[in-house]
Amino acid sequence: MSCLQSASQTAGPYVHIGCTPSVAGLKDMYGGYDLGADIFPPNVPGRRIVIVGQVFDGTGDPVLDAMLEFWQADSNGRYGANGPSGGWARRAVDADAGRYRLETILPAATGEEAAHVKVWVVARGINLGLHTRIYFEDEPQGQDPILASIKDPSRRSSLIAQRSGGDGYIFNIHLQGEKETVFMNV
C-alpha cells in the first residue's frame, strides 16, 4: 500500500499564531513560552556564537513576516543528542526590518559535511518551505558536497556567514534577485 505526499501550502502572514504565539500577541499561550526559543540547554558545551541577519524579497525590501527554523549538530557533530529538541530553534523575523538573531554554539563538521546550520524559511508568498544552510567563513569547508557542487563563487558565497566581530556572524537570506540565496531540494 502506498499514499501520495500531501501538498504544501503557504504558512501565510499569521504563522506566528500557531508557531510563535507570543509574537502574534498571544502572550500567555502555552505558558508564555514559544517552542524553539532556546536552541540548546544552557550548559551545552561548545563555542558560543550569535548569528544575525535579515530576510529580503526580490526588490531588496525586507520580508517582515517570515518564520525561520534552524537545525544543527552540536560541537561533537551529533544531531539530537542534547535533549529531545536540542539543536532546533525557531524565530519570527521582526516586524520592523525582517531581522532575526540566533544565539547558539558553533556546530562541528559531520563526515564530509562542513560545519553548518540548516535553515527552513516559510512566509506568506512561499508556497513550499525553502531549505538553505549557513556555513561559516572562518571554518574549514573541505570537501563539503554542497559547497563543492556550486560552481559560481557568488552563488556559493550566499551560503557563507561573514564574521562580524567578537562571536558574531551575519547571514542574510535573499529570496530572489541578484543576491538570491542558494536553496535546496532536501
Partner: protein, 242 residues
C-alpha cells in the same frame, strides 16, 4: 536505533511551484534559480522530537484553551481527526502537530489582522498535539470563517486550518492547510490553486465524518496527512534508480 534510510525525494508534481502569478505574494518571494539537489546526511534524516512534557492538557482543545474559566469559543463546534502517515502508509508516531486558524467570523487573533469581523475574547486560534503510536491525532475547535484578503480585489479564502507537521527527519518538515468539503471558495482561491493537481487539492480537503460525529454535540471532520516515506532497500527499487 532510529531508521537511517534516506527519505524519498520530494514529488514536485504534487507540490505547488514557487512562482504562482495569481497568488501575488509569490511574485517577489519565489526563488528564480532551480533548487539544488541534496543527498540526505545525518541532519536530514534526524529532526527535533517533542515529548508530552511540552504539551498542556488543553492544548488540543481550541474551544477552551484561550477561554475564560467556564467560557467557550463562539462558532460551530467540530472535531478534526485523522492519521499522519508516510508514503508507505506507515504511521508517523509521536510527532508534533501545530494548528492555527481564524475564528468563526474569519478574524485572526494577530496584531496584523485588521479585518472588520470581531475578535472572540474566548478564542485564541492555535493548538497542538502529538500523534499517538498509530499516527492518530484529534483536536476540537470551531469551524473557521472565510475571509477576504488583498490579492486581486475580491479574493476570499475558503475556511481553512493551517497545519505544521514535524516528522521523524528534517526532510519531512511540512506546513500545509486543511479545507472543508463542499466549500465553494476552494476552486476560486489563488492559494489553493497554486496546486495544479485537483486530486492533491482533494487530499487537503477534510470530509464530514458522521461516524465520529457526536449527536447533539459536535461534527467530526476527517483529515489525513502524508509525509515523505523512506526509500525501500528492495532490489527492484535500486534498479529503478539506475
Amino acid at each position: 536505533m532510529s531508521d537511517i534510510r534516506p527519505f524519498n525525494s520530494q514529488d514536485m508534481s504534487l507540490q505547488p511551484p514557487a512562482l504562482t502569478l495569481d497568488y501575488r505574494s509569490s511574485r517577489l518571494r519565489a526563488p528564480s534559480h532551480k533548487l539544488l539537489s541534496l543527498e540526505h546526511g545525518p541532519g536530514e534524516l534526524t529532526g527535533p522530537t517533542f515529548g508530552h512534557d511540552v504539551i498542556g492538557p488543553n492544548d488540543h482543545d481550541l474551544i477552551i484553551n484561550y477561554a475564560a474559566p467556564g467560557a467557550a469559543a463562539i462558532g460551530e463546534q467540530i472535531m478534526v481527526h485523522g492519521h499522519l502517515l508516510d508514503e508507505n502508509a506507515r504511521p508517523v508516531p509521536q510527532v508534533l502537530l501545530e494548528f492555527w486558524q481564524a475564528n468563526a467570523g474569519g478574524r485572526y487573533r494577530h496584531k496584523k489582522d485588521g479585518y472588520l469581523a470581531p475578535l472572540d475574547p474566548n478564542f485564541g486560534g492555535c493548538g497542538r498535539t502529538l500523534t499517538d503510536e498509530k499516527g492518530y491525532f484529534s483536536f476540537r475547535t470551531v469551524r473557521p470563517g472565510p475571509y477576504p484578503w488583498p490579492n486581486g480585489g475580491n479574493d476570499w479564502r475558503p475556511a481553512h486550518i493551517h497545519f505544521s507537521c514535524f516528522g521523524q527527519g528534517w526532510a519531512q518538515r511540512l506546513i500545509t492547510q486543511m479545507y472543508f468539503e463542499g466549500d465553494p471558495h476552494i476552486p476560486l482561491c489563488p492559494i489553493v490553486q497554486t496546486i495544479a493537481d485537483p486530486q492533491a487539492i482533494d487530499r487537503l480537503t477534510a470530509l464530514l465524518d458522521m461516524a465520529h460525529t457526536v449527536p447533539m454535540e459536535f461534527r467530526a471532520f476527517r483529515f489525513d496527512i502524508v509525509l515523505r516515506g523512506r526509500t525501500s532497500t528492495r532490489f527492484e527499487n535500486k534498479l529503478e534508480g539506475n
